[in-house]
Structures are given as structure tokens and as C-alpha cells.
Amino acid sequence: MKNLLNFLIKYNYWFLFILLEGISFTLLFHFNSYQGSAFFTSANYFTGNVYQVQNELTGYFHLRTVNKELVEQNTELSLQLQTYRDKLMDLTQDSTGLVRMKQDVLMDYDIIGANVINNSITFNDNYITINKGEADGIKSEMGVVGGTGVVGIVYITSKHFSIIIPILNSKSNISCKLKNNEYFGAMIWEGGSSQFGFINDMPRHAELSVGDTIVTSGHSAVFPKGLPIGTVHNINNSQDGLSFKLKVKLFTDFAKLHDVRVISRKDVSEQIELENQIEQK
């Protein structure tokens, strides 16, 4: 008995070591399963505020580029708006149609602006933290877009902060399609460069060429149809040879992402409920 006690005392650091490593690995492998809790993440109150202060200090450095992008985007949008308006006026001389259509488009979605306060691009599982949370109406599974294209999907929310799974995460899977036709696939990331994503399951008979634009499909409840994601960079065969593997150059530059918008669709509960029913069967 005494020998055993001596043994335990002599090698007590082994027990502490195993205990501490045990806690670490529990954290490592259970990050997915505690989606409700944001304690050990950058969305908790303390870390969120440290990043918020940093963001307020460094936010000014990006103003010039942000401004330039906004102006470019604004010009493009007003041009587009003008062309659509003209087209619509040509098609429907009846002006009440235009009013009704405007209302229809805006009725389905809420848009919440937010700032990126923490971001990474070098890990295999990158996350983005933004400075808006439940208090601002953000819930998990909402879509997030930047100035130039799709960014990702909201993952964990706390009261004033949220964590987003960007395209640059092994867990990310965004339903997308070719802009010109309806062939669809799933946008994933396989590590490496932060500028490229992949679509592994594009059917072989799909008509496509390098340079085609990839947009969201609108099949999931997260994103509306037609938000730009990227352009086809090259086309290869997938590993099983049954479909094309597309390398997609992403529109969003994750390395200098600063302003994002969270899109919340107002009435998704019915669609989600229906889809869950199928999964349960």
C-alpha cells in the first residue's frame, strides 16, 4: 500500500498530464456537438470585446479600399438597376406591376450589416467572427455575403457576436449552380489557397466552360438564388470519373474581408420542417 502511494506521488505529473490532455482532446473533438454554447470561442463576451476594440482601432486603415469597392459596386448596381427598370417598363407598361414586384423581392429577406472582427485563412477549419449577434436578430444557419460575393453561413451565435463558417472550412457545403443554366453542385473547400474552392459533383453532360460564373442555387433555405460565388478556373474529372471536378476562383477575398451582410429569409420554417421530415424517414 505504501509503495503504491509512493508510486502515485512520485509520478503524479503523469496524471495531471493525462488529465489536461484529456480535456484538450475533448474540446478538440466535441466542438461540433455543443453548437449552442459559445464559451470557448471568439464569440464569448471577453474575447469578442477584445477583437471589437482592435477592429475599432484598425478599421480606419481599410477605409480607403472599402470606399473604393463600395463606389465601384454602387456604380455597377445603379447601372444594372437602370437596365432592369428599362426592360421592365418595356415589358409591362402597367406601372402597378413594378411596384408589386419591388415589394415581392424585398418582402422575403431581411439584411443585417456587420463588421468582421476576427478572421483566419490558414487553418483547415477557418472561422470568422462578426460583431452582431442574437440581439440584432442573427440566428445560426443564416447566409452571409460580402461586397463581392458569398462568404459563408452563420454557425454559433452569442448575444452580441456570431461565428461564421466561411467557404474556407472543411465543414462548409453551399449549394450552387452555373449562372447560365440550372446544373447544380455543392461548393466545398479542400484546404490550400484561400482563393479557390471546389465543386466535385457537376454532371458530365453539363454545358460549361472555363470562366463561367457560379452562383447560389436557391435550393437551400440559406441563400436566395443567384448570389455570385466565383468563376470556373479549370475543369477536371472527379476521382470516381462520373462527374466533373471544378476549381472555382472565389469572388470574395477572405484575406481582406471587413464588411459583411447577413441575409435572413423571413419564412423558412416551413421548408426546413419539410426537409427534416425526409431526413427522419
Partner: protein, 165 residues
């Protein structure tokens, strides 16, 4: 008392430096300096394994909380603390009873560099292996380990030269 204040100051300072500045450094997309392990490497030589592991656990946990990499830094730093003393002893000619803080002045440049590179390499191997659970790319893994080790070791040597003054 002053020793403790200095230690806590270094603890907080290194965490802030790591999460606010160094984590944003990626030389060609690789090579992030993990300077915060400096805290564990220069902890005085008479520290017990338990003390060192607890410090390592908490510094890793805080870094992980900031970077959304739960467990990765915690596990690597704890392991680093676990193997630090044997490796420190193998690189020094001091008597076991003598108390010193590892550094260029106390160990000499040559053996300090060996000590830093050995431990940094082990730390980066742990970190990147844990990080590569989601997808495994051996060449990229190797590049990441080597560039991270190099940038971390250089940073630690520079900081050590300044910190001693």
C-alpha cells in the same frame, strides 16, 4: 512578488501580442510565429512539471478561445511543458541543483538555439498534426511545420535578446 508580477505581465502581454498581431502574419500563407510558447520556454529551470503544465494549459486554452481552434493549442502547449525539463537538462551543462532562467545569457547562444529549435519543432509538429485532422496533405503539412518552426524560433531569439535588458 516582483517575479510574479513580471510573469503575469509577460503572460498577458504574450497572449495579446499573439492574438492581435502575430496570428495575422502568414509569410506566403505559411509561417505563423507562435511566440507565446516563449513564456514556457524561459520559465525558470526549477519549475515542477505540474506548475509548468498548468501554465501551459491555460495559455493554450486562452489562445484557442481567441482563434476558434478548441484544444489544438492547449494540447500542444501542455505536451511542450511536459517534455521541457528533460530536454532543457540535456542541452545544459549546469548542475541539476542550480536555478536559472533559460536564455542566451544563462545557457550560451549555441545551446540555447538548439534548445529552442528542438522544442519549437516538437510543438509545431503537434500543432499541425492536430490541425490536419480534417484533411491530410503531407507536403503542405511539412511546409507548414518547417516554416512555423523557423519563424517561431527566430521570433523567440529576438525577443529573448530584448527581454533580458
Amino acid at each position: 512578488m516582483i517575479v510574479y508580477l513580471r510573469r503575469v505581465g509577460l503572460f498577458v502581454g504574450l497572449i495579446l501580442l499573439q492574438v492581435l498581431i502575430l496570428n495575422n502574419i502568414h509569410i506566403y500563407g505559411y509561417g505563423t510565429p507562435f511566440l507565446y510558447i516563449f513564456f514556457l520556454l524561459i520559465y525558470s529551470s526549477n519549475a515542477s512539471k505540474n506548475t509548468l503544465m498548468l501554465w501551459a494549459f491555460f495559455i493554450g486554452l486562452i489562445i484557442d478561445t481567441f482563434t476558434n481552434t478548441p484544444g489544438i493549442n492547449t494540447a500542444s502547449a501542455t505536451f511542450l511543458a511536459f517534455i521541457r525539463n528533460p530536454i532543457l537538462n540535456s542541452f545544459t551543462l549546469h548542475d541539476n541543483n542550480e536555478i536559472f532562467e533559460p536564455g542566451i545569457s544563462s545557457m550560451g547562444l549555441n545551446s540555447f538555439i538548439k534548445y529552442i529549435v528542438a522544442l519549437t519543432l516538437i510543438f509545431c509538429i503537434c500543432l499541425q498534426l492536430l490541425n490536419s485532422f480534417s484533411f491530410f496533405d503531407p507536403i503542405q503539412l511539412l511546409i507548414k511545420i518547417l516554416t512555423d518552426t523557423l519563424s517561431t524560433a527566430i521570433c523567440i531569439l529576438c525577443v529573448d535578446a530584448v527581454w533580458r535588458r
